[in-house]
Amino acid sequence: MKLSELTSKIEGKVITGHSLLENEVEYAFASDLMSDVLTVDKEDILLITGLNNLQTIRTAEMAEIRFIIFARNKKVNCDIKELAEENNIAVIECPWSVFKTSGVIYQLGIKPLF
């Protein structure tokens, strides 16, 4: 599914990475623990998290994650936005809980990693 379609289905707001909206999303992973995210072997996945700080973007940069949804209505500050733009990472804000966001995305056919 295209990132643009997925974003509209979760009532998301695109903050950065507008050029990535036509990219296909196949796999997703949800965690607030960045150490967990760093153990993921697959690249170009979607990360769903409620942890909105710079280390989330740094983790995505190192783990080759290109799409992030900040759930729980977490807002992205200027520093996070700037770092995400620098690394060409799409950041989307979502008003829903991680549980609901993940559930809806799973129903849309996005695959879990395990």
Partner: protein, 136 residues
């Protein structure tokens, strides 16, 4: 090629800067993406460890035609029991570190997983030195 980065303990806004710089250089050298990912994940875990636990530290990266050697040396409390620190789930991290999404006792094991060779030396109340090698 020899690279050097000073790391400030406790400064989470800068954590990952060195790893990011190294990643950019490795990309410019056209090293295989999977190899780069393993190396920078290990490096980033190590960099976060210095920020999380030490007063200050120094990261040096030596790149030659067949391998990358990374040394992470810090001035800090040291690790009293390295075997225990290598166990998944064991951590002495503060609440502030956990709020940043780390401190779950996964860093050192994940570094080990993403490196070809890794050694840790530590002296309590002095500091820790982690050296790892990844073949490219």
């Amino acid at each position: 090629m020899h690279l050097k980065y000073k790391i400030q303990g406790g400064n989470f806004s800068k954590a990952g800067f060195a790893s990011s710089e190294v990643k950019k250089i490795l990309r410019q050298l056209s090293i295989e993406p999977k190899t780069i990912k393993r190396l920078v994940v290990a490096l980033y875990e190590g960099e976060v460890n210095i920020v999380a636990h030490a007063y200050n530290g120094l990261i040096t990266v030596d790149i030659d035609t067949e391998k990358v050697t990374v040394t992470l040396k810090d001035n800090g409390p040291g690790i009293p029991d390295i075997d225990k620190a290598m166990e998944q789930g064991y951590s002495t991290a503060s609440a502030a570190v956990r709020e940043m999404g780390f401190g779950a006792g996964m860093g050192l094991p994940n570094m080990k997983k993403n490196t070809d060779e890794m050694t840790i030396k530590s002296v309590v109340n002095e500091g820790t030195e982690v050296i790892f090698i990844n073949y490219i």
